[in-house]
């Protein structure tokens, strides 16, 4: 997550008014067409989601079934990526691993957004003691490195896929709370918000009609970058044996097992390794591309 905050900072797009523009669909599409990273990232993400959804139909074998081939055999027509130390089909494990990876990445992101965004809105909009309390809590959470905080939560919650989601989700709340608070503070000073306030708009109308729509693009950008971080963190935790437990196929855990057989069958490591890299790169490209698209400073380049 440190990576996300750094990159949000690098290309800090307040993105005012872009997503909430009239004829926004057309304009957005025309810009999108000129941004290959966004398109490629988006296409790969879409493909991954489809693979995850249709894993049982796409994968040639049952990923947990032992001895579907000779153990540790290299790529062949029957097993495109070869087999692992227990004779399981590596390609099938990689395909099913997509499910865990996207499920954890997506759920952790949704959890963080659904708590972090409201907290940031409250904090930035109302200010005062509420703001102070929320921001102090955020500070304390951020005083642990992201992965260490997740590890601490895993200690409390126990190992396992769903606990990884909680740990990564809770750990990412500060990211959105801070981001949204900052955006709200800058929007509050803008004329259109003040004008709405002067004509007597309610808090609810101000927040949901004027502030939130204009804060959406940085949220979407950060959400996409966060999925990449969460995918990597899930793989890291499973790699350490604290995340997804065997025999469920998980890229991180499979890569760990592959270490002992690097010289026998490299594909055991390459399969999940490339899958992790591809997934994280796709979400990063999508996020970076969207940021460049929605950042008014970069738009007319």
């Amino acid at each position: 997550m440190e990576g996300v905050s750094a990159r949000v900072l690098v290309g800090d797009g307040a993105g005012g008014g872009t997503l909430y523009h009239r004829r926004r669909g057309m304009a957005a599409w025309r810009r999108l067409r000129r941004s290959p990273p966004t398109l490629i990232g988006g296409a790969v993400v879409l493909a991954l989601v489809l693979i995850a959804l249709f894993a049982p139909w796409v994968s040639p074998y049952d990923p947990t079934k032992l001895q579907v081939g000779l153990p540790l055999s290299g790529p062949s027509a029957g097993h495109l990526l070869g087999t692992d130390h227990l004779g399981r089909d590596i390609l099938s494990r990689v395909i099913f691993g997509t499910r865990i990876s996207l499920l954890v990445g997506g759920s952790a992101m949704l959890f963080a957004v659904s708590l972090g965004v409201p907290l940031g809105l409250l904090s930035g909009y109302f200010g005062g003691w509420l703001d102070m309390m929320i921001m102090r809590a955020v500070d304390v959470m951020l005083s642990f490195p992201f992965l260490i905080f997740a590890l601490l939560l895993i200690v409390v919650l126990g190992n396992g896929t769903s606990n990884v989601v909680w740990a990564l989700g809770v750990g990412s709340i500060p990211l959105f709370a801070r981001l949204v608070r900052g955006t709200v503070l800058s929007l509050k000073g803008r004329e259109f918000v003040q004008a709405a306030q002067v004509v007597g708009a309610s808090h609810r109308r101000l927040i949901f009609r004027h502030i939130l729509p204009n804060a959406l693009s940085p949220i979407i950008v950060t959400a996409s970058l966060l999925v990449a971080v969460a995918v990597i963190a899930e793989a890291s935790l499973s790699y350490l044996g604290l995340g997804t437990q065997p025999p469920t196929p998980s890229w991180g855990y499979d890569l760990n097992k592959a270490l002992s057989y690097l010289e026998v069958n490299l594909w055991m490591a390459l399969g999940p390794g490339i899958a992790i890299l591809l997934t994280a790169t796709a979400f990063n490209m999508l996020g970076d591309g969207l940021r460049d698209l929605t950042d008014p400073r970069l738009r007319n380049k």
Binding site: M1, E2, G3, S5, A6, R7, L9, V10, P37, R136, D139, V140, S143, F144, P145, F146, L147, I148, L151, L152, L153, I154, V155, V156, G158, A228, I232, A235, S236, Y239, L240, G241, L242, G252, L255, N256, A258, L259, L262, E263, L266, A269, G273, I276, L277, A280, T281, N284, M285
Partner: protein, 320 residues
């Protein structure tokens, strides 16, 4: 300047207290009864209940949480961090012995990533729009998304298994054998620094391109300075402040990643200790590990803050 530093230090105190509360609570929130775990399943429930009450009292677990916390904090402050439930060695001693290795790894990885990022970033900026630039940028796009253990695995395969330049195991402490020490930390340092290097390379490139477009660069060129001097003295120096800022923001990621890299390369540092403790649920060791990382992180951030205010006086006189 001193006033600013003092101010920052004072602000760190509440955070420090909050960190200790959180670590203390986290371990106590773990489901399961530590006393019950210790005595196991005694055959006679009446006897077992008696032993349990006795042990609970002797551990001070019958007292209210705030009292337990203050007692625990007193121990922590006076250097009694408890002992490992498995090895029965004092946690603090173990940590003090291991922390220098992790620190070395951290410094090495930060240094290599900054150097790589500067060199590659400058090359990409100079060759902007060329095939080289495109290739490097594609490579960094992948690099940002590469987890430490993946980079490490690739490095082990190529440099240890195939080329045989490094042994994957066989660590020596710097005071025993400096050469072997550096050799055994090089691959871990690279694995840890790679993703950071990729991120910083993009930033160096972007910052240099932006700086090169500014008036003072044109002035420097106009007065006849050579390209190299313009690049190093003028462009690079101005481009580096944001780079250093972002490098500072990466400390947390490096601390988290070092845990993984250490366990991959079996380095006897803090990270391996922490992961072993986590896998075995060795609570005193986990407490010590998390506490030290959090405090180290706090100090590192403090140091970075102070370094900026020294580099950029606007921060010193700005907010607060």
């Amino acid at each position: 300047m001193w006033k600013y530093i003092l101010n920052r230090l004072l602000f760190a105190v509440p955070t420090l207290i909050a960190i200790t509360v959180l670590v203390f609570l986290a371990i106590r929130l773990v489901p399961g009864d530590p006393v019950q775990n210790q005595i196991g399943l005694a055959s006679d429930p009446a006897v077992s209940a008696q032993i349990k009450a006795q042990l609970t009292k002797s551990y001070g677990l019958d007292q209210p949480l705030p009292v337990q916390y203050l007692k625990w904090l007193g121990h922590v402050v006076t250097g009694d961090w408890g002992e490992s439930l498995f090895t029965h060695r004092p946690v603090l001693g173990e940590i003090v012995h291991r922390a220098p290795i992790s620190l070395e790894l951290l410094v090495l990885s930060m240094a290599t990533s900054l150097i790589m990022a500067t060199v590659v970033g400058v090359v990409a900026a100079l060759r902007r729009g060329s095939g080289i630039d495109f290739g490097l940028m594609f490579f960094t796009a992948l690099g940002i998304s590469a987890p430490e253990f993946l980079v490490g695995t690739v490095l082990i395969y190529v440099f240890a298994l195939k080329l045989g330049w490094f042994q994957a195991a066989g660590f020596a402490r710097i005071e025993d054998d400096p050469l072997r020490n550096i050799k055994s930390l090089l691959l871990p340092g690279l694995s840890l620094g790679f993703a950071r290097a990729a991120l910083l390379t993009r930033l160096v490139r972007a910052e240099i391109l932006e700086t090169l477009g500014q008036d003072f660069i044109r002035t420097a060129r106009a007065k006849g300075l050579r390209d190299r001097v313009v690049m190093t003295r003028h462009a690079l120096r101005n481009a580096m402040l944001p780079v250093v800022t972002v490098a500072g923001l990466q400390i947390g990621a490096v601390l988290g990643g070092s845990v993984i890299v250490e366990s991959l390369f079996v380095l006897p540092g803090m990270g391996t200790y922490g992961i072993n403790a986590l896998q075995k649920r060795d609570y005193p060791a986990i407490e010590g590990f998390v506490l030290l990382i959090a405090v180290g992180f706090l100090l590192a951030n403090l140091f970075v803050d102070i370094a900026y205010s020294w580099l950029d006086p606007r921060i010193r006189y700005g907010r607060r």
